[in-house]
């Protein structure tokens, strides 16, 4: 078998464009996921049990449903149900963001739950306003706990964006496959695509590991 990585070099701008698209998609999913996760977390920590039940159902459902299935479901069914044409990128980002919101919501909840209730009580006994307690006492303690798992799941987001190739979004994986099918040099293109993904994901998982996240995605500190 003869390898010719020169062909990758010649197609480099196309591949790099796909890589840039992967990064942009990951950032968009991350930002919407964080926003959605905050909303889910707020609902989950709500006083009313029926609101909590909705948040629990959301988290349970969207953490269980495979990314691929939700991706296809939204891609095919949303335009039919809504009766409008939705851009492919929007369906892809929506699917990944819905799942990311469930994961981030649960990460935020566990982070806040790790702050002892006595901390809230201490703040209240000092006559602090609820918002002030959150801003000065709870969040400064919850954020370091949460940072590892958040970065860990961000690595998963980058991985998940490669699934968007299945619905024809021209990110790294899609372009690697397209270039491969054109030249029959799948080996070279897919290998380089793998290396590109590794280049983003490995630093993220190193950080997550330094924050105490194990390979199984659990904190051990």
């Amino acid at each position: 078998m003869q390898l010719d990585f020169g062909i990758v070099l010649r197609a480099w701008p196309v591949l790099l464009g796909g890589f840039a698209y992967t990064v942009v998609l990951s950032i968009v999913v991350f930002v919407t996921g964080i926003a959605g996760g905050l909303a889910v977390c707020m609902l989950r920590l709500n006083q009313h049990s029926w609101v909590t039940a909705i948040a629990r159902t959301y988290i349970g459902l969207f953490r269980t449903i495979p990314e691929m299935v939700l991706l296809f479901w939204i891609y095919y069914c949303l335009p039919l149900l809504a009766g409008i044409s939705v851009p492919t990128v929007a369906t892809g980002v929506l699917a990944l963001a819905l799942i990311a919101s469930a994961y981030f919501g649960e990460i935020f909840r566990t982070g806040i739950a790790a702050v002892p209730t006595s901390q809230f009580e201490a703040g209240r006994s000092l006559g602090m306003h609820r918002l002030l307690i959150w801003r000065k006492i709870v969040l400064p303690q919850a954020l370091p706990i949460v940072s590892g798992p958040v970065v860990n799941y961000s690595a998963d987001i980058v991985k998940n964006t490669s699934l968007l190739a299945a619905i024809g979004i021209a990110e790294t994986m899609y372009r690697a496959m397209a270039l491969g099918s054109k030249s029959f040099r799948y080996f070279e293109f897919v290998t380089v695509a793998g290396v590109l993904y590794f280049a983003i994901i490995f630093p993220l998982s190193l950080y997550a590991r330094s924050r105490g996240v194990t390979a199984a995605g659990r904190r051990h500190r």
Partner: protein, 91 residues
């Protein structure tokens, strides 16, 4: 199987159940991606039937429900397993 006694170091086994469960569910989710390389799993079959019948919403909703049912069953089994291995004194 006998329940673990208090003080039994093997009672620590219960700690591996939750991460193992989430790994198993991740694995289940990952199998859905195999449909892309034409492995005839649920997802691929649904794609195939859809391409001839066009009952898109019914098919994909059922497919999603199947995965959720399997995933939640794994979760429920893991809960029972964890409960089984947790010594009485720490319940």
């Amino acid at each position: 199987m006998a329940k673990m006694d208090a003080g039994d170091p093997a009672a620590g086994n219960t700690k591996i159940v939750p991460p193992l469960t989430s790994s198993l569910i991740s694995l289940l989710k990952a199998t859905a991606a195999l449909s892309i390389i034409a492995v005839d799993d649920i997802m691929k079959m649904i794609n195939r039937v859809n391409s001839t019948s066009f009952r898109t919403i019914e098919l994909y909703t059922t497919g999603a429900a199947i995965y959720v049912a399997i995933g939640l069953s794994i979760g429920a089994l893991a809960y029972l397993l964890e409960h089984h291995f947790t010594p009485k004194w720490s319940r």
